[in-house]
């Protein structure tokens, strides 16, 4: 997991790879402005964000993941800002240091007991949370899942997703652009298939997209874990096996950190693209100083805001998107100077 690398069944990817152009994501319109047109990488569906102050007197609770996880923290900041814009009271409940279903179920039960107007949740398990969430919904409290999702979403009002496949596609396209037609080799550092559907989707997006480029040889995936020393050792071995390796795509934060350290130890210079790295201070620093070439990212504050909007619309009886999907962004060092861009743990500091 990165550290909270989600257990997710990705659905609703109508946007698909063909629509991914490598930049931008879903946008949320506020007030009575025109409906949001979701840009490449995200869903093409549209919705109207509720008007400011329209949820006055309502209470929204976000049952997130482990406290301190900056990915969920960034989502929470977006949700908080949007809830405040709507005039609602917002509360964040984290589940302790572990990414596990049991503490999240206890936290969800506690949140339900406070009788909120609606609950956002990032389920730690696509199956184990189904019954507890169904129980909350049957008590009259609408639930929206955000980022992670349930295997069976029939009880939730909406599930707001990110397009993990697009992250892999962007990485593959980036290598192709940098290779400029030269014959090169690239490797994938990820976690074993089946452990995390989000990661699987990212892997598949990368591998499938590479097939479009006959000049790029995909040398295979090496499986990593959360132990940095293992990941450095694994990346070192990959670099020893492929000393002229052109690029590494790491789908997990720890895999990326391992690749960075291994490359420095070996004085090797593969292009390292970090998947989903925007909330990690170390990776943002590495991008700034050129240690990694690029990273894929998602506008997680937008994700949180979209989730609050679906919840507010559900309560008001307005149309709700069942599976809005936010597209991926490719960030390079040059793009870091974008005005107002907040990355790293600051994105989760609100």
């Amino acid at each position: 997991m990165r550290p909270a690398r989600r257990t997710m069944t990705v659905g609703g990817l109508a946007c698909a790879a063909a629509m991914i152009a490598g930049c931008s994501a879903a946008a949320v319109t506020h007030n009575s402005s025109p409906p949001a047109a979701h840009k490449p990488g995200g869903t093409s569906a549209v919705y109207t964000a509720p008007q400011a102050g329209s949820a006055k007197g309502k209470t929204f609770v976000y049952v997130a993941s482990a406290n301190g996880d900056t990915i969920y923290g960034a989502i929470a900041c977006g949700a908080k800002a949007e809830a405040e814009r709507l005039g609602a009271t917002y509360k964040l409940d984290t589940i302790g240091p572990t990414y596990a279903a049991p503490p999240q179920i206890s936290t969800l039960d506690a949140a339900e007991a406070t009788d909120p107007s609606g609950i956002l949740i990032s389920p730690m398990d696509p199956h184990a949370l189904y019954t507890p969430i169904s129980s909350v919904v049957s008590s009259g409290i609408p639930v929206v899942t955000v980022d992670n999702q349930l295997a069976n979403p029939d009880k939730v009002a909406s599930q707001v997703l990110v397009n993990n496949r697009a992250s892999g596609v962007l990485a593959a396209d980036y290598f192709a652009k940098r290779a400029a037609g030269r014959h090169v080799e690239v490797a994938l550092l990820t976690i074993p298939l089946g452990l995390d559907i989000a990661s699987d989707d990212e892997d598949n997006g990368f591998i499938d997209e590479l097939k479009k480029y006959p000049n790029i040889t995909y040398v295979g995936a090496t499986y990593e874990n959360v132990v940095l020393s293992d990941n450095v050792a694994g990346a070192s071995a990959v670099l020893a096996r492929y000393p002229n390796l052109f690029g590494i795509f790491g789908t997990q934060q720890f895999a990326d950190d391992g690749a960075v350290t291994a490359a420095a130890q070996l004085s090797a210079h593969p292009l390292i693209v970090a998947g989903y790295g925007g909330q990690d201070d170390a990776l943002v620093r590495d991008l700034r100083d050129g240690t990694i070439a690029a990273m894929t990212d998602f506008p997680l504050a937008t994700v949180g805001a979209m989730a609050i909007d679906q919840l507010a619309n559900k309560i008001e009886g307005k149309p709700v998107l069942k599976e809005p999907t936010v597209g991926a962004i490719l960030r390079t060092e040059a793009s870091l100077n974008q005005p107002g861009l907040v990355l790293g743990s600051k994105e989760a500091d609100c």
Binding site: V226, A237, A240, R241
Partner: protein
Amino acid sequence: MTQADILPRPEDAEDLRDEHPGLLRRVARLPELGVLGGLAAIVALFMAWQPDHFATIENLRNLLANSSILTVLAMATTFVIIAGQIDLSIGGIIAFAEMATALTFRSLGGTAGGAGALVAGLGVALGSGLGWGGLNGVLVTRLKLPPFVATLATLGIAQGAAYVLNDGSDLATVPISLNTHVGLDNLAGVPVLVWLAAAITLLATYILRRTRYGRHTYAIGSDAVAAERAGIEVRRHVVTIYAIGGMAYGLAAYLNLALYSTTAVAGHASDALNAITAVALGGASLFGGIGTTLGSLIGVFIPGVLQNGLVIASVQPFYAEMGTGVALVLALYADRLRRSRDASR
């Protein structure tokens, strides 16, 4: 001089049974011989399988560098195991020491921190490790909690405290100079981390083989009651073993920061198991009284070489975990046979 001072060392006890062994017989009796043979076989396999990529200077240098921090852990754990103890709190202590040190760095300039930050950070890392280790020792010797439970408890407390320190978020506030000069630099073509690990190994070897402290460690692990009767301050000695061990884990935390430039609070769950596995693979008895630093050093490299060689051969590294597990079973079975043989004498 106490009675304990005249206790024979384990290797000397062997010698007493045969006062004039030949060189070959002495080599054949080396407890590390089996595990050394196993490591040599694995190395030979990969040299034959992947001669162009495995048997290179660069790969050897990487193997050494990537094993250096585990070597520090294994040296401390060797003392713990020989003394008949166990320490499961290693990962928690490292996570806490990493976070406390990173916070220190942050308050002293962050990535731009200078020599003062490096020294202060080292002090915090060693001090926090010493504190947690000392607490382990007190829990085991004063409160008489079983080491397994006591250190399991401190694992959770230290891990939780590490999360509390920065609300669960990792920190990347390590001075660049630490990463550059300690984590990634070479001295005479060998990574600085390897030199440091070698120094720790030599120091541990000297203490264990040549000092009264080392002999007392063996004596306590062999029979704590007998050691007490022989005049050894068993409780105090055990406290120092845990405390010094904790300090070594603090040092490992500092070296982790030097190498990776970031904390990894969630990434230390397997540290204790890795260290204990290395020590057990190296021939130490989990029942205490038996073990060597050389054996533990070899034990460190078995999983490391397996992982490195298999990835080079494009085989997923979790096969290395299987291989390490099989080697561990063999090592523990050999220990059981050894103890059965000794008991029947």
